[in-house]
């Protein structure tokens, strides 16, 4: 493992470029505790995880980070970048790690494609990636992606609870991907089917805060078979990074076409995974996780729920991830 650590804020930071440049990319995660710096500088519209990242970086608590790489994948990350830049400029508190913004856009237009590809080439130049190193990094990352898909398949086949699957997938973002792949292969070998699993549920909506909602569903007797979330079913995407293309193009197209972002446009592209997942069949219900702090999933919900009604799939909305009587009643209503 490399000594240099790059903190990343979500799924669309090109892991392969950082790895090829000699960094170990690590997802910056939520952690318990107060956030005084965030409370001072950030408005309430920011999610807890983004607040924690801002807070810990400002406090110098994550001084192991040599760099922080932020993609233009959500507005919260964009603002996080601007806020950290400003704190750095004001020189309040300890020196911040170097910040880097990956200007990846998500409107599926030819202009955004060309723009994003050029930004990807630029990132490769900025990080002075040695020629040839990208191929090795792509191969390493692809192995890990296949392991994530193996986790998802085991869950689909009834061998893994959703909460456990999420825990395993977490390693994809925070571990060395070679170690992750080896460990997961071993972990998956000895699994046995879960007896009498309950109704099969897909979770849709706003980004999840860990596995709290999954556990609540499981306590009510449900089985979360998939979630439209980059820390779960969407982590590896549908495809590997292609090895038969110029690496910059292959990496860019992977992050442009095969990742999740609230900024993907049009909605048919945003909904594509969800539709495929439901059309496979075997889903008893959809649980929408839409807290009132959400600013985008709530706009998609009426359209998505109308589509589910046409399909005849039961669905419900929860505003927080904890167990509640409404959640419990919904899951029990789906009992097979």
């Amino acid at each position: 493992m490399s000594d240099r650590i790059a903190g990343i804020t979500s799924n669309t930071v090109p892991w392969e470029i950082l790895r090829a440049a000699g960094y170990t990319p690590v997802l910056l995660e939520d952690e318990p505790g107060p956030t005084p710096h965030a409370d001072r500088w950030m408005e309430d519209v920011f999610d807890r995880r983004i607040r924690v990242i801002f807070d810990r970086v400002c406090a110098g608590a994550w001084d192991r980070l040599d760099k922080i790489v932020i993609p233009r994948t959500s507005e919260q990350e964009h603002k996080l970048y601007l806020y950290l830049r400003e704190i750095s400029r004001k020189q309040e508190g300890p020196a911040l790690p170097d910040l880097y913004l990956y200007n990846l856009l998500h409107t599926r237009t030819p202009e955004s494609h060309n723009y994003g590809l050029e930004r990807t080439r630029q990132m490769i130049r900025h990080f002075e990636v040695p020629e040839g190193a990208l191929h090795d990094a792509i191969a390493e990352s692809n192995r890990a992606r296949r392991c994530v898909r193996a986790i998802l398949q085991k869950r689909r086949d009834g061998f893994l609870k959703g909460s456990v699957a999420l825990g395993l997938i977490r390693g994809f973002y925070i571990e060395d991907r070679t170690c992750f792949a080896e460990r997961v292969c071993q972990d998956l070998e000895g699994l046995r089917p879960i007896p009498a699993s309950g109704p099969r549920i897909v979770i849709q909506g706003a980004p999840l805060e860990g596995a709290t909602l999954h556990r609540a569903v499981e306590e009510s007797g449900g089985y979360v078979v998939a979630e439209d979330d980059w820390r779960g079913s969407r982590a590896a995407g549908d495809h590997d990074v292609r090895m038969d293309l110029e690496p910059a193009i292959a990496i860019f197209e992977k992050y442009f076409y095969d990742e999740i972002s609230p900024r993907i446009q049009p909605s048919s592209e945003r909904d594509a995974w969800f539709h495929r997942e439901l059309e496979r069949g075997g889903i008893d219900g959809v649980l929408f996780y839409i807290p009132l702090q959400d600013d985008f999933a709530g706009w998609d919900y009426p359209r998505q729920s109308r589509w589910l009604e046409k399909l005849g799939v039961a669905h419900a909305v929860v505003r927080d991830g904890r167990n509640s009587s409404a959640l419990d009643a919904f899951v029990r209503s789906l009992r097979r």
């Binding site: 237009t109 900024r263 600013d295």
Partner: protein, 421 residues
């Protein structure tokens, strides 16, 4: 709202209503195309392509000022959109597609041919896509790459050195998107884009903003402001939505003349002005009387909002050899300039000093995320510059969240402290 002191204000209000009435007539009687666009779209392109455009934010302000926002926002929630979603950008949509759309102001929005927005948040494309689908209208969305070059004092570079300031890759990208927008406008209007027409319009926009700058200077220099903030807003925004048009330039000149004359003659909007107040954020459209509520008790007059000041600093572009590129530079960074660190906070402090501001009321919008961010940085920067800050947590269109009486009491207590300092 308090009485209109300027003839320009009366003219601006009447012109806006007449423009909208004429638009409705043209759309209904002659099936003329028109568009609805976010406020930060390049309205100049719509003008040269002869497609009238209604600003989403302007219409939301009109709906809110007519006290109709609660009705339409309730309808939005009843339709399954939860109560925490953004309201400033969705109220116009709600008024056009939900409930009794006929009770919207002035007969309501007719069916548009085109909806267009720039993606400065994660939600606006959803609002516009929902809207476009309802009317089966064309939809053009412009993506928004982040700025990574943010040097200090942007307003000193934006007029002459905009090529360097706004990053070539962002400008070129915006121009490519403009070309897609122009193609769409051409399909709708049947007009051919002429770059010389755009250049001429951009030159006229510069004239217009120069008039606004002269008015702004008169406000800065006068011992007491010759024009209240609310009247500034009405005059400026009526012209900005039609910027560069003959009427808009002429109106900006009339406004400048009236403000300068009032200042020269020592006419004050509030003769007993003792405190000069700055309003940071969009206006509270449903309670514009709030801005005169402290004149009697404290001699506190709102003299500044972003609307007038941003005209010259944000819009003027000299060096129009490539007018599309210059227009791109006007469009790409509005969000950074008005709402985000470092540019917004730095500019606000500069404005406060130039206008001899005694205290600032800073809005943190409860129902509009793009303009909610950056407000802490603005508050802290103003406070560091010695300007007391009164934070206002409210929505600019949603009167359901506003307790005007309580806010007047709290504002008065804050001003008591300012006076005592």
């Amino acid at each position: 709202m308090a009485e209109k002191q300027l003839a320009s204000t009366v003219a601006a209000s009447e012109a806006q209503k007449a423009w909208f009435t004429s638009l409705r007539q043209r759309v209904f009687e002659k099936r003329a195309p028109y568009a609805i666009g976010q406020a930060d779209m390049p309205f100049e392109l719509f003008q040269v392509m002869d497609v009238p455009v209604v600003s989403n934010q302007w219409w939301a302000a009109v709906v809110s000022a007519k006290r109709l926002a609660p009705y339409y926002l309730d309808k939005l929630n009843e339709a399954g959109f939860h109560g925490g979603l953004c309201r400033y950008c969705s109220l116009s949509m709600a008024s056009a597609v939900l409930g009794d759309t006929g009770q919207a102001p002035w007969g309501g929005l007719p069916k548009p041919s085109l909806l267009a927005a720039r993606l400065t948040c994660d939600c606006v494309q959803r609002v516009f896509e929902t809207w476009a689908a309802h009317f089966d209208a064309e939809l053009v969305l412009l993506d928004a790459p982040a700025a990574t070059h943010l040097p200090p004092r942007w307003w000193e570079q934006s007029r002459h050195h905009w090529r360097e300031l706004f990053e070539d890759h962002r400008l070129q990208f915006m121009v490519r998107q403009f070309e897609r927008l122009i193609a769409s406008l051409g399909r709708i209007s049947g007009r051919q884009f002429q770059v010389d027409e755009l250049r001429a319009l951009m030159e006229q926009v510069n004239r217009q903003e120069e008039y606004f700058e002269a008015a702004k200077r008169a406000i800065c220099d006068a011992p007491k402001t010759p024009v209240r903030m609310q009247e500034q807003i009405i005059n400026v925004m009526a012209a900005q939505w039609q910027r560069g048009s003959e009427w808009a330039v002429s109106h900006a000149r009339s406004f400048r003349d009236e403000v300068v004359t009032r200042a020269s003659n020592g006419v004050a909007a509030c003769p007993h002005e003792r405190l000069r107040i700055m309003w940071v954020g969009a206006a509270l459209w449903y309670d514009l009387d709030f801005y005169t509520a402290f004149e009697e008790s404290h001699g506190a007059v709102f003299v500044w909002s972003m609307y007038l000041a941003f005209g010259p600093d944000g819009y003027i572009r000299y060096g129009l050899e490539d007018p599309l590129l210059a227009l791109a530079s006007r469009t790409v960074s509005m969000n950074e300039q008005l709402h985000n660190p470092p540019w917004a906070n730095e500019w606000m402090v500069e404005q406060a000093r130039a206008h001899r501001i005694d205290a600032a009321f800073v809005l943190t919008p409860l129902g509009s995320r793009p303009s909610a961010t950056g407000t802490r940085f603005v508050e802290i920067a103003l406070d560091d510059a010695g300007i007391p800050v009164f934070p206002v947590h409210a929505d600019m269109v949603d009167a359901r969240l506003w307790d005007g009486e309580r806010m007047r009491k709290e504002g008065a207590r804050f001003l008591d402290d300012v006076v005592r300092r």
